[in-house]
């Protein structure tokens, strides 16, 4: 068992965005969360990664509660997320974006940096090589010197993925990683997500593209109006009458 959410509730000005939601994300697999716009998917991500405090409920990761931890502390525990809206360091070069993502792997202290000790220089070199590797993995090696903000949209989304991977996640939360991409790019992202899982990373995915979701997920959780209305294997969920009516009938 990797991640476990228990009776999580979030209200915005009295309106429930999440109402006592409970679910689990199993280690080493790809779990997807789907649901109509405003269902509460991003809100759930925000609570899990410490950006939002829930009204009630708790989040357990490998048995330990995450409640009250700050986002950076949650990242230190190996839980890394991407954001629904494109999110890079726009004025920084693509390679340096990934270098920032490597932050947790660096050890150099203030004194060593000011004295520019040899191990600091060696660490820099190792990390730069690692960053190049990650860039090559997502297929952005040719862009390394360009400022991230100048990249076309689809490539910025890939860069976000690279930044998150640099932080060495054991659980990776992806919020609509393929939104706004063309079909070819989507297929590429699907391949990447599979390869990430093969490297032993647990993937928790929010995505609207059903072809993508049904194609790669081991399990699917359906959220509607802040409640889990179905969960199970992709095939089961697809034929669930409640799910169909949620998507067709709106509220």
């Amino acid at each position: 068992m990797s991640l476990r959410v228990e009776e999580m509730a979030v209200h915005f000005g009295g309106v429930a965005a999440l109402a006592d939601v409970s679910f689990e994300v199993e280690a080493g697999r790809i779990t997807s969360m789907i649901g109509p716009n405003g269902a509460g998917k991003t809100t759930a991500f925000n609570v899990i990664t410490g950006f939002l405090r829930p009204l009630r409920g708790r989040v357990l990761y490998e048995g330990d509660p995450l409640t009250g931890l700050k986002p950076f502390q949650i990242a230190e525990r190996g839980i890394v997320r991407t954001f629904q809206k494109t999110n890079v360091f726009p004025q920084t070069a693509v390679l340096d974006n990934v270098m920032i993502g490597l932050h947790l792997r660096e050890r150099a202290g203030l004194a060593a940096i000011l004295l520019r000790r040899r191990r600091v220089r060696e660490e820099e070199a190792t990390l730069a090589a690692l960053a190049e590797e990650i860039l090559a993995f997502v297929g952005l090696a040719h862009r390394r010197r360009e400022p991230a903000g100048a990249l076309p949209f689809g490539e910025q989304r890939l860069l976000e993925l690279a930044i998150a991977l640099a932080a060495r996640p054991r659980l990776l939360l992806l919020d609509e990683p393929a939104s706004g991409m063309n079909p070819a790019e989507k297929t590429a992202v699907m391949g990447l997500i599979r390869r990430i899982r093969e490297q032993g990373v647990t993937v928790f995915l929010v995505e609207h593209d059903m072809r993508l979701v049904m194609g790669i997920s081991d399990r699917v959780i359906v959220l509607h109006l802040g409640r889990v209305i179905a969960q199970g294997a992709p095939g089961e969920v697809q034929s669930d009458p409640q799910v169909i009516s949620a998507y067709l009938g709106g509220r």
Partner: protein
């Protein structure tokens, strides 16, 4: 007890003008998302314009006050059209730097124009104080309080009872939606800045005859305006009115019972305490992540 009541009365008189300053700043802040560091300079402008009308043009006192408010409105509108409109949509830091530039430029323009020597403004009110039971108050100060109350009430009506005010409030709520609903954002911004600057100039014109007029008088005034905005909450009209009165009274009590050397420290202390103890309490606007 009598001394205490006297401090409260003096505090109210100061507080009324602080509220005027604060209302202008809070509207500009809330509606335009501009931190107007030049706000105090419009206060100075109001005071000097009054002086100009009275001492050099020798007009009627009340006409001079109107002239001062008009000068604030005019220069405010020019400032918005020239410097802020081209920067619409830029980050808050960018407009803040520009307004810091305006602040320095205006203050030193005043200094060049009028010299550093403080000037006093004549007024038609009798000198001997009126006594109300145990309290005494100069007629001029009573007039200042009355005029401030009138201006505050007028602003309240403008914002809550007119179409223009409704458009301003809609822009404050959500600029994009207001634009979609047909509000002319450019016009609202010009009006807001001109209006806020006019109120600041009015405050300067009212306090000019009470104290003296000098080029750097806008600095403490701007500080007070910021305190009022922070006390009352960002973009909060009623809060600014209340905040102004609270600050006026707090200052009078601080100066009366602690030490007059630290009078201005009251303002700084309020800013630090309020922002640090209730960083989200008074002006919470939760940001969205994701």
């Amino acid at each position: 007890m009598e001394e205490f009541l006297q401090h409260i009365l003096n505090g109210l008189i100061l507080g009324g003008t602080y509220a005027l300053l604060g209302i202008g700043l809070t509207l500009i802040f809330g509606i335009m998302n501009v931190v107007n560091f030049a706000h105090g300079e419009f206060y100075t402008l109001g005071a000097y314009t009054t002086f100009l009308f009275l001492a050099l043009l020798e007009t009627n006192f009340f006409l001079a006050l109107l002239g001062a408010v008009a000068s604030g409105i005019l220069l405010g509108a020019i400032c918005e059209r020239l410097l802020l409109r081209p920067l619409l949509g830029e980050s808050i830091d960018t407009t803040m730097l520009v307004m810091i530039g305006v602040w320095i430029a205006m203050q030193n323009a005043e200094l060049t124009l009028w010299g550093g020597v403080a000037k006093s403004i004549d007024h038609p009110f009798p000198q001997p104080p009126l006594t109300l039971g145990p309290l005494s108050v100069a007629p001029l100060r009573l007039f200042v309080l009355g005029a401030a109350v009138l201006l505050i009430a007028g602003s309240h009506l403008l914002i809550h009872r007119t179409r223009l005010g409704r458009a301003m409030r809609a822009t404050f709520q959500d600029r994009e939606t207001a634009a979609l609903m047909g509000v002319d954002i450019h016009r609202i911004h010009t009006v807001t800045f001109a209006f806020g600057s006019g109120l600041a100039a009015g405050a300067g014109a009212l306090l000019g005859p009470v104290f003296v007029v000098y080029p750097a008088m806008g600095d403490p005034a701007a500080l007070k305006a910021f305190v009022v905005v922070i006390l009352g909450g960002l973009g909060n009209f009623a809060g600014a009115t209340l905040g102004g009165l609270i600050l006026g009274i707090a200052e009078e009590l601080g100066a009366g019972y602690i030490s007059s050397g630290y009078r201005d420290a009251v303002g700084f202390a309020i800013i630090i305490l309020v922002l640090l103890l209730r960083p989200s309490g008074l002006f919470a606007r939760a940001e969205r992540v994701g």
